[in-house]
Structures are given as C-alpha cells and as structure tokens.
C-alpha cells in the first residue's frame, strides 16, 4: 500500500515551507557562480546541476543531499556514475549550495530526511548522468563527423573505431551543445554498478580522521563562543551581570541573544570558563511547571478525544459489539533525545560581504532562512557551506543553533565565530521525540480471526511547529506514517490520530511516527494472536493475503530465525512486521535471561524488501544502524522533566547501547521490483515491539510502556 508515500509526496509540495515563517526569502546564491564556471573553457565544466567534468577527467558530483552516515555521497554518486559510464570510485563529491534546483521533490524543500534521498534522486540523477553522457558523445561525434549512435561511452571516454577522447577533453565542447530533450535510461538488468558491492567513497577519510565535520571547520581569525541557555526551554534572559565574565582571560564580548547569553573568547576553553562566571536572571516562561506526570495526563486526555480518521473500513463499533472475544489496551512511549555524537555547533561570519555559515545541517535551505533572520543580512547574501554531519537522526533538520551562531556573530562583524554546545547543552536543548499515549481495542470471532481493530494515537505534532499549514483536517502526514500503511487486511478497522500539544517542543527523530505507531500496533497484534490461541507469525500471515511482499519478508524472517524451534530454558523469540517508506520488513528478536535475571538481546533477524537496493552493503548498514536507534527507543533511554527542566545531561544518565550490549544483527535482503524504497529509517521501528513480544514469551509479562526498563526489567 502506497498511501503514505502519496501523502509524503503531497506533503510540503504545496510550498508550505516557503510560505511558513522559517525560510525567509529563498535565493540562489551560487547559480551565477555555476553559470560562470560553465563559460570558462580552461576550467572544469559544469555539465548540469550535479555533474562537473575537469580537463584531467575528474568527475565531480555536486551532492545536493547531506552526508550523515546514511551513505548519500556514494549512493547518489552511483546513480550518476551508472548512466555517465564512469566508475563510481572515480567520482569526487562536493556539497551543493542552497539552490531551488536541489529541492527534494518528495518534501518540497532542500532537505535531507524522510528516507527520501535515493527515491527523490532515482530518476533525476540517472537522467543527469545520461544527459551529460549524451552531450559528451554528441561532442565527439561532431568532431569526428560520425553518427553519435556509432560512438561508445565507457570508463570516462568516448570512442569510435580507433578514435578515443576522454570526457575531460570533450567537456568544453559538450557544454556548448543543448541538452537532449529526452534521454533513455538503462534497464535495471543492464546495471553494472547499481545493486553491486561497492566501497563507500568516504570510508578512507573517516578511517584516517581526515573527514571535516561542521565542528572541525576553521577560518582565519576564528574565535569561539559558548552559550548559556535558559534551563527551561522557551524561557528568556531577564537580565545578566556579565562583569566577572568580561574580566576573564581571552574574553572578547558577551552577547545577550534572547534565549541565552553568549561568551565570545579567543579560545574555546576560555569561552567555557567565562560562561560559568555569568550571573543571569531568567524569565522561565510557561514551561516552568512542566513535568512528566503533566505530559502524560495531557496525552491521556488527548486519547479520550475523537481525533481525525487516518483510515477506516467497515463498522468497527458494531464488529466490536458482536465479537466473541474483545481486548483493550493502552500503550505509552517516552520522550527521547537525538544524542548525535557531534554536539550542535556552527561557524558563522557576518561581514560586509554578507553572512557565511559552515555547519552540519540536514536543512541548508532552512539554515539560510534563519541565518538571514537572525543576522539581519538579506538571504541573497547568506551562503551555506554544509559539512559532513556527525550524526543527524533528525536533530539537524532543526536550525536553532545556526540562528544562534548568526545572532552571536552579528555582534563581532568581520570575525568568524564558532559556537559549540556542550553535551549538556545538547541533551537539554533538543527538540525531543514526542511522548505518546495510544489506545487499542480488538475483536476476535469464534474461530479466532481478527474482525475488529480500533486504534487511536495521541501525541504532539512536530510538523505544526516546523511547517505550519501542512496539517490538514487534523492529519499531520508525519504522524500517520506507521498507521496509514498498515498491511493487515481487517474487515472492520478505524485508525485515528489526535494532535495533542503538551507544552514541550518536539522534533523529528529517526523514523518519526513509525515507532510511535508500530510499538502499540505490533505489540497489540501479538496480544490478539495469543488471545486467539494462535502462533504470532501464523496470525499475521493470515491477515496478509493481499500483501505478497509483506508475506514474503515475514515468512523469510521466521525461516532465517528458525521461528517455532524448541528454544532452551530462559530463551524466547518475538516477531513484528510492517511496511515503511515503501520498504517491507519483518523482524524476529531472540532474547534470553542471564543468571542475574537481566534480559539479554541475543539476535535481531531482519528480512527486508527495499525494492531495488542501490548500494546493497549500505542498505544492510542502515538496517544495522537503525537497529541501534531502535534499541535506544526500546530499552532504557528516556528524557524526563522536573519543574520544566530536562533532568538528563550526558551519556551517564542518557545511555546509548555499547559494544558489550549489542545483539548479533542478521539482515536478509530480498530486493524486488524496479524502484528503490526508503532505507535510512527502516531499521528502527520494529525493534521495540519484537523485543516486547519476546519478553512476553519469556516472562508472561506484557509491557505496554517504553522504555521497557520502566517495567522493572533490566538489560544485560
């Protein structure tokens, strides 16, 4: 079912982003520069927005998506290389500036997120490669006065009989030809690079410590800034006594930017120490009284409202009335921080030339808008220089820290200022994965068939904050994912969502609403299977009659994990299954109880059908990595508030999985079809329900809250 994808496609396409408050005056700072490059024959030639060819035959991909580990640099280079007929390892990567040509058509803005990079580029970049190749061939054919159809493009050269020229030699002449109106793309059967094993282009730099992340960028004369922010998110500076801080070594300036007070100093450590000497009086604002009990009460109240219908079939109320067996359950999920290993940071320079921003960001277009708004420089003169991202997970879709750096740099014109948050700043000033309250009712007939399913999901909307106007009739398309695409065929069903704000800013966290919906739904399906006296895999397969791809991954995951085998004492398995981002997957979790009574996650066995896997080894890497995000959601991590203050601060009290806690992760890829599904977030959502279902099988305890540790479980 592709309903979710359709809604994604419509999502921001109506220019809601451009009309919203976030992006101010979209401009093309480099379009002129690109055109100039194309005109100069002696220099590298810009074949189109993505491909540049140098006289020495160096091929450069102007990569319009940002690399945060998800492999866009290599995966997108593969799309170009396949059609251009060059080896992907000959392609160099340059990060694209902000320009409308680079807008993500699936999201309506220049954004790296939503597992859309390959899907959005699938036709676009192959056409860019084919267009450039066609022009290079035409240039050679013109010069040799032979039909273009008789020329062969291969390995970065065009040849005809004994004649041979490199792309570099042909690029200037090719650039003078008009682009072909239409190009024919290769058939998947003819791919020589897509779908084959390749090494990542960025592995050597990242292995040698040479990759430059946002935090690593330097500029001549650069100074550092630290920022003391209000301990209650949303609060403001009432007054500041900065006399002591200003007298400390190396301090250049103290700047009140509203949400906090920044110290600018010659070195980071001086800026950090002087920050500790600030005496600030805060206006804490309306968030000062917030705590977890209040958030949960608000969400529970939300779950009592009718909400908006995500999808509906038959008459669920009537079917529940006449069902032989009825179940009702309520589930809760916690707040989560993103905890990227590279803390938020940004280097900003405000000068008579405008504003320059060097940053790790998933949203260069948003970065340009906020930097313009906070520096006072018109957007046309704000240049964004995106860098390698030391972990995104959705955190770097928000551009708050970029706006802060611009506001601070404005105070010292002509001096580049690098703002670096501490880990504590990062943990306490996140846009948190929202908490949720989910209610479910199900009805079984006399034979144990699922005949009624009533689901309601209450949570806060990230989209309403970031992209106002996108939510229509109570339906935020990034809250319905994981429910609207339910694969089960149930005669009477109603799935609803309630947007219930609870007073804390929330953000997109890898896989967004999929885990918020999948944990309750896939756990409850397990409850229903047990209530029906049926095997959880068989119970699901019976509901997948119209879903051959989903059936296939579920059957395969069960087979690979030896589902149904006799396990030893203290061991159990749990299963979960769903479609997300156009990719089908099923997961079996193997768990065991240790001598001390803790639960160990031994193995996660995934079967995944991503359509075409463009870079199969990195599709597997994304599942392996997604599993770790899934474990963060499932096991122990949570953000809590007391008096409006986030209580966690660093990795001792917001714990991430470590090497010694890692399960073995087996991934079976089952590519089908001719188009790629999304991959960056797929590995996340099924981890929690598969483990919770295994915990039930092991202990008889049905856990309906995340993290699972809240149910007095400990994990080894």
């Amino acid at each position: 079912m592709n309903t979710a994808n359709v809604s994604r496609r419509k999502f921001l396409g109506t220019s809601a982003v451009l009309g919203g408050g976030l992006v101010v005056g979209l401009i093309l700072p480099l379009r002129g520069a690109l055109a100039k490059t194309a005109a100069a024959d002696a220099k590298p030639v810009q074949a189109n927005a993505w491909v540049r060819i140098a006289p020495d035959n160096t091929i450069t991909l102007i990569c319009h998506r940002n690399e945060m580990g998800q492999d866009v640099h290599t995966s997108l280079a593969l799309l170009i290389a396949e059609e251009l007929e060059v080896d992907v390892d000959k392609v160099r990567i340059e990060q694209a500036p902000v320009d409308p040509v680079y807008v993500n058509a699936l999201l309506g803005a220049q954004i790296t997120g939503g597992s859309t990079s390959v899907r959005d580029a699938w036709i676009k970049l192959r056409e860019a490669g084919a267009t450039a190749r066609t022009q290079l061939v035409a240039a050679a054919a013109n010069e040799w006065k032979v039909p273009a159809a008789d020329c062969v493009a291969k390995d970065g050269t065009v040849s005809h009989g004994n004649k041979r020229k490199t792309y570099g030699e042909l690029a200037a002449a090719a650039a003078k030809l008009s682009a072909p109106a239409k190009v024919v793309l290769k058939k998947p059967a003819d791919f020589t690079q897509i779908g084959k094993h390749q090494h990542r282009l960025d592995t050597p730099a990242k292995t040698l410590g040479k990759a430059i992340f946002g935090i690593d960028v330097t500029q001549p004369g650069m100074v550092y800034a630290t920022l003391e922010q209000c301990p209650v998110i949303g609060g403001k500076v009432a007054s500041v006594d900065d006399a002591r801080a200003k007298a400390m070594p190396g301090v250049r300036a103290v700047v009140n930017i509203g949400e906090g007070v920044a110290v600018i100093a010659d070195h980071y450590w001086n800026a950090k120490k002087a920050r500790e000497a600030l005496a600030i009086t805060w206006d804490y604002g309306p968030g000062a009284g917030l705590d977890n009990a209040k958030i949960e009460a608000t969400l529970k109240e939300g779950a009592r409202q009718d909400g908006a219908v995500i999808r509906k079939n038959g008459d669920v109320a009537a079917a529940l009335k006449t069902a032989t067996k009825k179940l009702h359950a309520e589930y809760r999920l916690q707040l989560l921080a993103h905890a990227t290993l590279e803390p938020m940071n940004c280097l900003a320079l405000v000068s008579d030339k405008g504003c320059d921003i060097w940053a790790s960001t998933q949203f260069p277009q948003g970065a340009q808008g906020i930097a313009a708004a906070r520096s006072g420089v018109e957007a046309a003169r704000v240049r964004i220089w995106p860098q390698f991202i030391g972990g995104g997970f959705g955190r770097r879709l928000d551009v708050d820290f970029i706006g802060q750096a611009a506001a601070i740099a404005k105070a010292v014109p002509g001096t580049p200022v690098k703002l670096i948050w501490t880990r504590e700043d990062d943990t306490r000033n996140d846009f948190y994965r929202p908490a949720s309250y989910n209610t479910l009712s199900g009805g079984l007939d006399a034979k144990g068939n699922l005949v009624a399913f009533d689901y309601k999901f209450a949570s806060a909307s990230v989209t309403n904050r970031m992209f106002p106007g996108v939510t229509k009739n109570g339906l935020d398309p990034l809250m319905t994912e994981g429910a609207i695409d339910l694969t089960y065929d149930i005669p009477n069903e109603m799935l609803r969502v309630v947007i219930q704000e609870f007073g804390l800013r929330v953000g997109y966290w890898r896989s967004v609403s999929h885990p918020l919906n999948a944990f309750p739904i896939e756990s409850f399906i397990d409850e229903l299977a047990h209530a029906a006296g049926k095997d959880p895999v068989a119970f699901r397969l019976a509901l997948l009659g119209k879903q051959p791809r989903q059936r296939a991954v579920l059957e395969r995951a069960a087979k690979e994990a030896n589902w149904g085998q006799k396990l030893g004492a203290g061991k159990a398995q749990g299963v979960a299954s769903m479609e997300s981002y156009g990719t089908h997957q099923a997961l079996v979790a193997d768990i065991s109880r240790t001598a001390s009574g803790a639960i160990r996650i031994d193995k996660l066995t995934y079967a995944v059908d991503p359509g075409i896997a463009v870079h199969p080894d990195q599709v597997i890497a994304q599942i392996q990595g997604g599993a770790v995000s899934g474990l963060i959601n499932a096991l122990t991590a949570k953000i809590t508030l007391k008096d409006g203050r986030v209580q966690q601060s660093n990795f001792h009290n917001y714990q991430l999985p470590r090497m010694n806690q890692m399960p073995k992760i087996d991934v079976v890829l089952m590519p089908s079809g001719d188009d790629p599904g999304g991959m960056g977030e797929v590995g996340v959502p099924l981890v929690a329900p598969a483990i919770a279902n295994a915990v039930f099988a092991l202990t008889g305890q049905r856990v309906r809250t995340l993290p699972l540790a809240d149910a007095k479980l400990s994990f080894a």
Partner: protein, 152 residues
C-alpha cells in the same frame, strides 16, 4: 607556556594549564581528527594515546602532560594501525564517522596488547567508545579481520 610531545614532534602551547588536551589539539593546534563528544570521558570520541595507552583527552588537563608522549589519529602509524585501518576500509565500518578516530585508536591498542582477541575481549576493550550510528557489528568484524591479517 607548555612543551608537548605530539606525534613525535615537540610543540609549544600557550594555554591555561587546566585546558583539556582535547582543546589544545583541536583549538590551539588545529588538529581536528580528535573529536569532542561528551567532555566527561563517557564516549571515547576524544581518545588519544598517552605513552602508548588509550586516554580521554577531554578530561586530561595540559598540566598533566609534561614528559608524556601523545599520539593522535593524525600520528597513528605502524603495522597494527595499518592493519586496523585497512580492515576498516575493507568492511566499510564508518557511517557518520564522528566516533571512528577513537574507535580506530581503541582497536589498535587492543590488537597491540592482544593479537587475537575473543568477542569478550572486544566487548571489554571497546565498550568505552560509543557509536551512535551503530557500527558495532562491523567494528567487531574488522577487529577480527585485522587480527587475521596480522597473523598471516
């Protein structure tokens, strides 16, 4: 002024004595391969060697470094390090890559003291190094792979 021995070179640094080595490297010396993750010796992104043993540069002040030989990712070399980095490339370990300088140093230290580590040895040696992307399985495989290549 402090005088440091970094990657075999003598370097003079003008910084407050309580400045952590991490910021001496990154800020004063422009050596950005060593990363800032937590500032509390909890994540391992800032791993360097002091006299050949892994240490957390984010909590090691400049004042504690007199007479110590400091090795960073920029100066890492030798047969074991080469084998580790080659295995990292064969297996394509990194995702975002931010933790990988620290992972490579920790893995090299492990294989230097224990040429054939078991999975339990890897758990012990590597659990101080967080990887938020979740490259743990490939790190484990690459350590075994590097061990094998050193045996040959």
């Amino acid at each position: 002024m402090a005088t440091l021995d970094i990657n075999g070179k003598v370097v003079d640094v003008e910084a407050a004595p309580d400045t952590p080595l991490l910021w001496v490297l990154r800020d004063h010396l422009g050596m950005t391969g060593t990363k800032f993750g937590c500032g509390m010796a909890l994540c391992g992104a800032c791993t360097v060697y002091l006299d050949g043993a892994p240490a957390r540069s984010c909590t090691t002040p400049l004042s504690a470094l007199a007479g110590k030989k400091i090795t960073t990712i920029e100066g890492l070399g030798g047969k074991v390090a080469g084998a580790v980095q080659a295995a990292w490339e064969r297996i394509d370990v990194p995702q975002c890559g931010y933790c990988q300088s620290g992972q490579v140093l920790a893995a090299t230290a492990l294989l230097t003291s224990n040429p054939k580590p078991s999975d339990a040895d890897i758990d012990t040696a590597m659990s101080g190094n967080l990887c938020r992307c979740g490259t743990y399985q490939r790190i484990r495989a690459a350590i075994h792979d590097a061990a094998k290549s050193l045996e040959a």
